[in-house]
Amino acid sequence: MSTISLKVNGQLHRVETDPSTPLLFVLSDELGLRGPKFGCGMAQCGSCTVILRGQAVRSCVMSVSSVGNDEITTLEGLGTPDKPHPIQQAFIDEGAAQCGFCLNGVILSAKAALDEKPRASDEEIRQALGGVLCRCFAHVRILRAIRKYADSRKA
């Protein structure tokens, strides 16, 4: 057990934990965050995605001790129900979900990709979602919402 400091969504947390613990379990179990979720534990589905150093990363295969001082952003860190982030608003407007379990990985992966390349083409957006799985197959609406957000940023 060691004490680890984590900066998550603008707040500093100190947690007592085994340093080899996957970041995901600390976020969900210790900090009670609902965004990042366990889907496979093998970085195959994207459910556990967080943004770290501007990149969408898989928190299920990353030990909490490897995070360091960089800030972690989770889905709830983007916006709030009263003031959703524009990408969240685009998903709300398009009704781009069924069960919604995958959204954490979908929204954060798309956001990180568009932050890096604001004028990404549909093809590039799709590539950024290559490792993200939605088994309800809400693809049509998801891609429409991301396009809408991307276009609104350009404007």
């Binding site: 609902r34 366990f38 093998m42 959703p84 379990f101 954490n104 309800c136 197959f137 809400a138």
Partner: protein, 770 residues
């Protein structure tokens, strides 16, 4: 149960009701309800079981049908608001909590809309409440009921005097039975139902605030993981608890017969303990080789049913000018929920509470009571949404896992399955083999058609008393339901086409009752249920999808054989207007070109395009749809790309068109993933498709095809299901489109690039129905 509806209402919001919870709960202790219930303490015949109006006018409705992401929460809220004439935001639905909701069995099979939106249950409760309140207002205002108007929970008399629902009934019981003839709001006057109301969970989902069962935290909660056998049928020899004692936070190893689980303070510790625990397992069962499995299925003893038999099929076939024969095969497939299944259980003394994503809270309550030997009414199961399940995924089994572990340690335990445990042991969608024979006369009419279907089965939904139907129950020593081989008896009852084993083109005559959607009178459908080496269970459109694949592809083969246009041949053999209408609607919007398949002038290389159609009367009478698929096939790689789908759907009066579209779009793409790539694989001892590298699902990078959803809205008919209608059609429409594009008929799903390539290189004669 210690939790009363009053407590529940108190704690779940500002709503406080003053009726005696005890009297409400006690009134139906031993009743056998109309929902296939065993015991429910909540009498579905009483209005108060479904609905309460608080002093502030808030309406709380209690439903036994819950939302897995298909929008049932939203449409049920719309339903209550519409029938009760109140604003949408004053209605709160409590879903599937055995302490407070009526037992409506299982939320499945596209049955929630038919169950709750027609002339009974939730809809009739809301209508009864409105009529009761109007009657009360008439007395109070001293006016006749038919002169009163109702809007937003306010009843206004001709005199202009008004009284609110809250003033009339606020926090009091109605004490009236459900009125089966309470007048329903006419669909042509709907103001809330029928509208594309945005799903109510949307904002919470998109902002990471939504509570899934995975997010349930109970004070004092610890974490469990299970250790499943490494191979099918292996039994436990020994467990070495010392192998994990040193793990920090270790709480306990739990062993019961062949069930093994570990509990630790933290999730990571539980994961490590499950990985490190030394377990010796005995010998496993040898599995039938996958390569010859479909042949093996057909040779097994089987439980046979004859759904329809005109007894003249062989005679008609012998006289037909052309006889066609083809055999189709469909693999085991998985629910493959993106989140592995999770549940939290709190078992203390002789009472248990389970937070579960089960589709069946009451049956799960009975099963938990059975395996823990607790009185049924000491168990409470609370539904909390999980990852989309699409049928019987691991939600039930993990609920039992959590219950067992919590029972063993006396603390609340959260269990989430590993990806491997989820995928290797779930109740797969059944593998099927379907053999078709048809005779055609000189004029191009189908004169006789016989289907013979082999379907695998082991276990299934546990129901109220079959824990062995899922893996945890089997490990505890309960037996799964298996088949009882026997020959078929002649059909006696009218055809009920629940599994779509009967093609839409059959007249479906038993005696003088003809319940089929078509006109073919010389008809025979024989099904064989055979034992499965793996657990099976309902997976979105169970058997309906497999059967429809075989029927609708075979219809296409017949059309090709006689060089008929596939739409025209269908219309010529259909009788049911609702199927005819969706076929016409889809063909029209898709700008269907009237010609036979395959298309003329198929290129020898490069990309070739094609189109295909399929249609279904889902479950015979629970939704109608037709689908046109347009594909591009790469003749070098064999890769199939769906370019466009047009689906016409008739689900009766539509409660929420946006919800229906969302469901239909998802169903089509899920059907495409299943048709093009998904199949369970195994070696001689175990399932080998146990993660997303070994089980082939489409990801979000797919170039999604355009999907046109054409809603054929019918107002004055019962509301039907829509959850599974579209997916039922996809494999057939794609198979037919691939044939149109290439001339290659694929009779085994999935249509992998390799199979397309093999077909392209095979001698042409093999591709024709023999």
């Amino acid at each position: 149960m210690s939790v009363s509806r009053r407590d529940f209402l108190k704690t779940s919001g500002a709503l406080v009701v003053s009726f005696s919870a005890t009297s409400l709960l006690g009134s139906y202790a031993m009743g056998q309800g109309p929902f296939d219930t065993h015991r429910s303490h909540i009498d579905p015949a009483q209005l108060d079981s479904w609905l309460a109006v608080s002093a502030d006018g808030t309406v709380t409705a209690f439903s036994g049908k819950c939302d897995f992401g298909q929008g049932m929460l939203t449409v049920q809220t719309q339903l209550v608001a519409e029938e009760l004439c109140v604003h949408l935001h004053t209605v709160k639905i409590v879903q599937c909590d055995t302490a407070v909701c009526p037992d409506q069995g299982t939320t499945s099979g596209s049955q929630s809309t038919p169950t709750n939106f027609n002339l009974r249950n939730l809809a009739q409760a809301a209508a009864t409440a409105r009529e009761t309140l109007v009657g009360m207002a008439a007395k109070q205002l001293n006016e006749s009921a038919n002169q009163l108007t109702v809007a937003d929970g306010i009843i206004t008399g001709k005199s202009g005097h008004r009284v609110t629902y809250a003033q009339l009934i606020g926090s009091k019981r109605f004490n009236v039975p459900l009125n089966a003839v309470a007048k329903r709001r006419s669909p042509d006057r709907w103001t809330v139902l029928g509208k594309p109301v945005p799903s109510l969970d949307r904002v919470a989902l998109m902002t990471g605030q939504f509570e899934f069962v995975h997010n349930v935290h109970v004070p004092g909660m610890v974490h469990g993981r299970v250790v499943r056998p490494p191979e099918v049928g292996a039994t436990l020899s020994s467990v070495d608890e010392n192998s994990v004692r040193g793990i920090p936070g270790f709480v306990k190893v739990v062993v019961r017969k062949n069930f093994v689980g570990v509990v630790a303070e933290k999730q990571w510790q539980a994961v490590q303990a499950a990985r490190q625990l030394k377990v010796d397992w005995g010998p496993s069962r040898e599995l039938s080789p996958q390569a010859s499995f479909y042949e093996t299925m057909r040779k097994q003893p089987s439980e046979d049913s004859l759904l329809v038999d005109s007894k003249d099929v062989e005679d008609q076939l012998s006289r037909a000018s052309t006889v066609m024969r083809a055999t189709y095969a469909y693999p085991y497939q998985m629910h493959g929920s993106v989140g592995t299944s999770c549940a939290v259980a709190d078992v203390k003394g002789d009472r248990a509470t389970i937070w579960s994503a089960t589709q069946s809270v009451y049956p799960t309550r009975s099963i938990v009571a059975k395996i823990l030997a607790l009185p049924v009414d000491h168990v409470r199961v609370i539904y909390v949404r999980g990852s989309g399940c699409y049928g019987l995924n691991g939600a039930d089994t993990v609920s039992l896992d959590a219950a067992l572990l919590s029972h063993a340690v006396g603390r609340p335990v959260r269990v989430q399955l590993s990806r491997q445990d989820e995928m290797a042991w779930e109740n797969f969608g059944a593998a099927c083999v379907i053999e078709q024979r048809a005779g055609i006369d000189q004029s191009g009419a189908i004169v006789a058609w016989a289907c013979e279907n082999w379907q695998t089965s082991r276990g299934g939904r546990p129901g109220y008393d079959q824990p062995g139907n899922i893996i945890t129950g089997t490990l505890l020593g309960y037996d799964p339901e298996t088949t009882t081989p026997h020959a078929a008896t002649p059909p006696k009852e009218q055809v009920r086409n629940r599994s779509n084993a009967v093609p839409s083109y059959f007249a479906g005559c038993v005696g003088d009752q003809c319940a089929g959607a078509g006109i073919i009178r010389s008809e025979r459908v024989l099904t064989h249920e055979v034992d499965s080496p793996f657990f099976t269970g309902p997976l979105r459109s169970p058997l309906r999808l497999q059967n429809t694949f075989a029927h609708e592809c075979f219809m296409d083969e017949i059309a090709a054989q006689i060089k008929a246009d596939p739409v025209s041949l269908r219309l010529k053999h259909l009788r049911d207007e609702r199927v005819i209408d969706v076929v016409k609607a889809a063909a029209k919007v898709a700008e269907w070109e009237n010609r036979p398949s395959p298309k003329p002038g198929i290129p020898r290389s490069g990309i070739t395009n094609g189109r295909g159609i399929s249609c279904v009367a889902y479950e015979g009478d629970n939704g109608y749809a037709a689908l046109v698929a347009e594909v591009a096939v790469d003749l070098t790689s064999g890769q199939v790309h769906a370019k466009k789908f047009v689906v016409a759907i008739d689900a009766g009066p539509v409660s929420n068109p946006d919800g229906l579209r969302n469901q239909t779009e998802g169903g089509i793409l899920q059907g495409m993933s299943r048709a093009l790539g998904e199949r369970v694989t195994w070696d001689s001892r175990k399932v080998t498709s146990f993660d997303w590298q070994t089980y082939n699902s489409l990801y979000l990078d797919l170039a999604a095809p355009k999907i046109d959803v054409v809603i054929v809205d019918r107002m004055n008919v019962p509301a039907l299901g829509a959850g599974e209608t579209a997916i039922t059609l996809v494999a057939a429409a794609l198979g037919n489109a691939i044939f149109d594009a290439t001339g290659v008929r694929l009779r085994e799903a999935p249509f992998t690039a390799e199979r397309v390539r093999t077909g392209l290189h095979a001698p042409a004669s093999q591709e024709k129905a023999s």
